[in-house]
Symmetry: C2
Subunit: 373 residues, 2 copies
């Protein structure tokens, strides 16, 4: 693990770069805003920790009302439980005896949920739970349009629910129904239509499960882009939003019902970079490339110079295009940029540098950084 | 830091996934091949450690004849020196007093080189070197076509050489002349033409420096894609190849002079993944996405199933398209995939799992993982 890039009490310009910065005021406003919104809608929040990979943040989300967290990987779940989180749902399928044993071991210290979309996998899970003397909460994942994981909605899903329900060591807890690609549809109408289709598939599946007389305690899913639709659908009880704490340049391109930018949440996550070369007019090079920024959903935005564009990242550097910039750069100066995609950006760092009023007030360790297994 | 995903003596199928695998036979063949080639050409190798971020590998490259390593970041240089590497060149500009002081501190234990493209930066470097009581080797970086860092070739570069040469604490050691984008030009003729242009700019700069009577001990640059052209140019003394140890799906698309694939070096780096969902015909989902693979130069290749294609990565998963695959997948099986781009892939892992004859024979720590400062 790398050392922190700053000390508490440092000014922003003292922070070594590239560094991952949280604007504490914006971050706390985002946590409070979603907590209030889901409470108003009468649904629960199970915040997705794949975004932040940091138990310190998970505990703050839970202090504001979240019932627990989601994870994608067993390694993330281990980091969350080690950091004091007592309620974790792994929101996809896990195969392999080593991983399943690690998952079952966690259930001695916390409520652990897991998704299945295959009968053999459900039976493997039951065996591991019984061997470990624990019970695992199981959610049957249905494919609601993303075309990735999940069993077909309807009868096939209900049959799998029956298998899970009969398996000793497993508690059937409900349906995982997450539409990932819908989060990034730009217009609210189209996002709403996609989630409408999702809801129809969930309803069809609930009707099939009702026929076999099994109770479905929870339908869980939704993300930062779409949660208002799931929350008001009447069929979801649990929201899995993750990115809302940070926002990123990708989510900032979503539009609300009026066609205006999606301003529910504020940018609170920045990468601080240094200008390290500027030998050509209208251009400069900064010290952050693919190893410091997740660029898979588009380029980051330059927060501190209006009109400057970040382009052409290489492994360790990026180019600022300054033709339309409000001002030129100063060699050696530090600038804040807004990541294109927060989740893979966070996974590149070991520390959040928490800033308030231009001053470093805390350092939070990203203990699940690299926990991809 | 995460724990290793395997133990020495494990079989390939015992390794937890996603894991970064080195095929030791192919890896050793690559090291030997380049060592022999540069020796035949009468030039030196200064291997680029930004590719592997691992002192264990750097020391093997040096045991085979490399004079030292390149790094991109001071943090990488610190990891290399801590791991026993005694000769490091940071192949770009470094700004900021904190970073420069860290660099100067390393010069007490190793030969440390650094690039400059700005007079103020050179003076800052001199001050820091004198304060620390060390000498730093300095290379003036010229822009030879990549359009990124580097001062303009010719008179401007020669003027900067004069400033560096006069600065107490700094040893002018030569020119950094690396053409990054030329590495990935697909045809040998076009790569050769690009490096021909590079060589013209170096020659022009050498002529200007000769006018002011300063000796240029070394011209350094080149990479895995282009090094045969620099090595035979008569003006470069030092090659900075990095990716040759691993190869990746991007470099495998380069062609040689006959238009055949670039087979000088073998694929030795794989990511081992698990098939964790397969609910739709012709498709499967594996447990490696953007947090396990650097996809910025294209998608990885599926090594273990001919015709299968990896597509649509999300943060933690990828989809295999099996329509033209030689066989179907088995749920829970482990497959090797060849990363699209090795450098950012390596930066996502803490360990190499070294495999020979299907068996884990070593675990090498990636101590410069995340050393982006």
């Amino acid at each position: 693990m790398t050392l922190p890039p700053a000390e508490i009490g440092d000014n922003l310009q003292d922070i070594d770069t590239p560094a991952l910065i949280i604007d504490l005021d914006a971050f706390e406003a985002n946590i409070a805003k979603l907590a209030q919104t889901v409470s108003d809608y009468g649904v629960r929040l199970r915040a997705h920790s794949k975004t932040h990979k940091c138990p310190e943040i998970a505990l703050r989300q839970m202090a504001a009302g979240a019932i627990g967290v989601c994870c994608q990987k067993v390694g993330e779940a281990e980091a969350m439980v080690a950091g004091g989180v007592n309620n974790v749902l792994v929101t996809n399928e896990i195969w392999g005896e080593k991983k399943l044993k690690r998952l079952a071991a966690l259930a001695k210290d916390a409520t652990i949920g897991i998704c299945v979309d295959d009968a053999t996998n459900a039976q493997d899970l039951g065996q591991v739970a019984r061997d470990a003397g624990v019970e695992l909460d199981v959610y049957v994942e249905i494919d609601v349009g993303a075309g990735r994981c999940g069993i077909a909605p309807g009868k096939a899903a209900a049959d799998l629910v029956g298998i899970v329900d009969a398996e000793e060591g497993l508690n059937f807890q409900g349906l995982q129904a997450y539409h990932g690609s819908a989060q990034h549809i730009r217009t609210a109408n189209e996002r709403g239509a996609a989630i409408g289709g999702t809801c129809d598939l969930v309803k069809e599946t609930l009707a099939e499960i009702a026929k076999i007389g099994i109770d479905v305690p929870t339908v869980t899913g939704a993300g930062t882009g779409s949660f208002r639709f799931e929350a008001t659908s009447g069929i979801y009880q649990e929201m899995q939003c993750g990115s809302y704490i940070f926002m990123d340049a990708d989510y900032a391109q979503n539009k609300d019902e009026q066609g205006d930018p999606f301003t529910d949440f504020r940018h609170s996550l920045y990468v601080l970079v240094t200008v390290m070369s500027a030998t050509k007019p209208g251009k400069a090079v900064v010290d952050a490339g693919h190893k410091a920024l997740g660029n898979d959903q588009g380029m980051p935005w330059v927060a501190d110079i209006p009109g400057a564009r970040y382009q052409r990242p290489s492994d360790d550097h990026g180019t600022l295009i300054l033709e339309k910039a409000a001002r030129d750069v100063i060699l050696g100066e530090k600038l804040r940029i807004i990541p294109g995609h927060c989740d893979p950006t966070v996974n590149l760092y070991d520390w959040y540098v928490v800033v308030k009023g231009g001053c470093v007030v805390d350092l939070w360790e990203i203990t699940a950084r690299g926990a991809i297994r």
